[in-house]
């Protein structure tokens, strides 16, 4: 077990192109489940591969257990990686797949067998499956074998590169909780890459949000949701995502849908200090409260997505070009074409710089 540290870690794929990972500073505590999340091209997989030793660094360093491993070959880093497509050896049986690393470390066969069986039991893999070849297994079983191959090694750090993306939706949710539970039980430091913010929020002790190779914010899921440092994090975390609207500033607030929405004094001060005439307002869908004609924001329902427990209303606010999404109670949502009004608590409104995207007076 060990902590992991990226110090100024940089990776440039080709000269003249922007870095895939740009001066990443990140510390993963001992036993922590850290999720790297971001859209494709954000550098999250590259960052993981740098830690695995599959990608050289063009600057900075990577540490595992307070030891600089920047130039240590992958096999000597005491890590195990679960690949997105599992990368099981097709010609080897499940047991051979799981025990291969131990065989390379010259672990005696008895010990190898014992550890493979133990890992199989931990993952609810049937003993009979151990003698099968990967192509005879279902997708979910292959995923567990790939995880098992990592567990058997008893590494100091687990690395996982979108290990659930090849599973169907139901199995993904199920495996998600099993993996999180397994990590909790084993207590092994884990770095987990995903593009799925739900996976990030549900699994990670802390989540690092990346965009265009840069670390945007690293914090607990709750903090990311409640206190995003910039517009990117605010829009990326949360489903459905935060409503973001560029609106003009007025005295005492911002003008949205023909009404003046009051803004906290701190935001107003920050905006005037920055000399802004407009800013980006962010309101989460659940913070648009339906109000029977008495709300300050008016609009017209365009589309209703009924999710059962609740319903998502796509609404065009009066005078606004873009639609907003509001979460409404599921039983009696207004129908398409119906006029609605919303009430918004001033405290629930986020404000971002329209150019830089940073949070104003967070």
């Amino acid at each position: 077990m060990a902590q992991v540290r990226y110090v100024d870690a940089t990776r440039v794929y080709a000269k003249g192109t922007p870095p895939a990972v740009d001066a990443l500073d990140l510390e993963v505590k001992d036993g922590e489940f850290m999720v790297l999340v971001g859209p494709s091209g954000s550098g999250k997989t590259t960052a993981l591969r740098m830690l695995a030793g599959l990608e050289p660094l063009d600057g900075g360093r990577v540490e595992i257990g307070e030891k600089d491993v920047t130039w240590v070959p992958p096999k000597d880093r005491d890590i195990a990686l679960v690949f997105q497509n599992y990368a099981l050896y097709p010609n080897k049986t499940v047991a051979e797949n799981m025990g291969f690393a131990l065989k390379m470390q010259h672990v005696p066969k008895d010990e190898r067998d014992r550890r493979v069986r133990e890992a199989a039991r931990l993952l609810d893999l049937d003993e009979q499956l151990l003698s099968r070849k990967p192509k005879q297994l279902s997708g979910g079983q292959r995923q567990r074998v790939a995880t098992g191959r990592a567990i058997v090694r008893q590494p100091r750090v687990f690395l996982m590169d979108e290990p659930l993306s090849n599973l169907d939706a139901k199995l993904r949710v199920q495996t998600r909780s099993q993996l999180a539970e397994l990590q909790r039980r084993l207590g092994i430091t884990t770095v987990y890459v995903t593009h799925d913010q739900t996976e990030a929020m549900t699994m990670g002790h802390r989540v690092a949000v990346l965009s265009s190779g840069k670390l945007q914010q690293v914090d607990t899921p709750r903090q990311l949701y409640d206190n995003p440092v910039n517009q990117f994090v605010a829009g990326f975390i949360g489903s459905p995502s935060m409503n973001l609207q560029t609106v003009p500033l007025t005295d005492g607030g911002a003008r949205l849908a023909g009404k003046v929405l009051p803004l906290p004094a701190a935001v107003r001060t920050a905006a005037s200090q920055a000399g802004l005439r407009e800013l980006v307002l962010g309101i989460r869908p659940e913070h648009l409260h339906l109000a029977d004609g008495t709300g300050e924001l008016t609009g017209e329902v365009i589309l209703v997505e009924d999710l059962g427990s609740d319903a998502l209303l796509h609404v065009r606010l009066t005078g606004q070009a873009d639609q907003v999404v509001a979460r409404a109670e599921g039983r009696t949502p207004p129908g398409p074409g119906q006029p609605v009004t919303f009430h918004v608590q001033p405290d629930d409104v986020f404000a971002f710089h329209p150019v830089t995207g940073t949070r104003l007076a967070g």
Binding site: K75, F83, Y86, A87, L88, Y89, P90, M104
Partner: protein, 288 residues
């Protein structure tokens, strides 16, 4: 029938589109058959002729009614001994050597490419650009000086050199198909170069190796020019046996056909055996 959806039923009706579709398929079918028969007819001709008595073999127009005889085959089998032995040794020997040298070479040019791998790759194939007849003089002199003239070793070496470039290109293309994640997994698992080749790459490219070996076997088995010019008796191969089946005078077509039939059988057998592994998909089940 009434349960058949309307759309499905309509598509069975002969609309102009449907007619074009069918005529297109039939057209390609005819082309395929014509080409296939054009290739097969001479072979059929050879096999039939091999069973004719010599007197019936050279009539014009050809006769299709004759009393079949195996006397030509008997003649072939009485004299083919040393030739077939030499051919087998040269073919098998050179093919094994080609694989032994080709696998590491292809690995160094694909999985972990060495510096200037492009130049290396081009150099290998450039050796095939020179017509072999241009080097036969120097080859003869070298063989003479090294006492390898009319020796089976010479043929093994030459056939290896002849097939190696193509084999490297083929094996390399198969190795490039191995998913990079598997190689990375083996790297993480701590497998060295040898283990990586033996335990991860080779099992995946085995079907490719089989087809490469098949091509090497065919080329080596059928090679005539080098054998003809550099061997006489101690290393003469099956193609030379065919030539020796042509006597100075007299009828020989039936005898030659029988010899040629016998000479082609091993290649057909090897091809038939290798076929299964050829069609088996590369890296099946490796991904996902």
């Amino acid at each position: 029938m009434s349960a058949v959806p309307l759309r499905a039923r309509r598509s069975r009706e002969p609309g102009p589109q449907r007619v074009r579709e069918i005529s297109g398929r039939v057209g390609w079918g005819i082309v395929a058959w014509v080409v296939g028969i054009a290739f097969f007819l001479p072979v059929l001709w050879m096999v039939i002729t091999a069973f004719k008595p010599e007197s019936a073999a050279e009539t014009w127009p050809p006769r299709f009614t004759f009393s079949p005889t195996v006397s030509q085959f008997r003649l072939v089998f009485s004299g083919w001994g040393p030739y077939v032995t030499h051919s087998v040794i040269a073919t098998v020997g050179s093919t094994i050597l080609v694989l032994l040298l080709g696998v590491p070479a292809a690995y160094a040019l694909s999985v972990h490419p060495v510096k200037h791998w492009r130049d290396g790759l081009f150099f290998f194939i450039s050796t095939k650009m020179l017509p072999i007849v241009a080097v036969i003089g120097p080859l003869y002199v070298i063989a003479l000086k090294t006492q390898l003239l009319d020796s089976i070793w010479l043929l093994i070496i030459l056939y290896t050199a002849m097939n190696l470039p193509l084999a490297i290109w083929l094996i390399r293309s198969f190795m490039l198909e191995v998913p990079s994640e598997l190689l990375e997994a083996s790297e993480l698992d701590g497998a060295g170069r040898i283990r990586e080749i033996a335990e991860v790459i080779l099992p995946l490219v085995l079907p490719g190796l089989a087809s490469t070996a098949l091509i090497c076997v065919i080329f080596a088995w059928n090679e005539l020019f080098l054998a003809l010019n550099l061997t006489t008796t101690n290393a003469a191969t099956m193609p030379m046996f065919l030539i020796s089946s042509v006597p100075q005078e007299g009828l020989y077509i039936a005898h030659l056909s029988a010899a040629a039939t016998v000479a082609s059988v091993p290649v057909i057998i090897v091809g038939w055996i290798a076929q299964r592994s050829l069609v088996r998909g590369l890296a099946l089940g490796a991904i996902k």
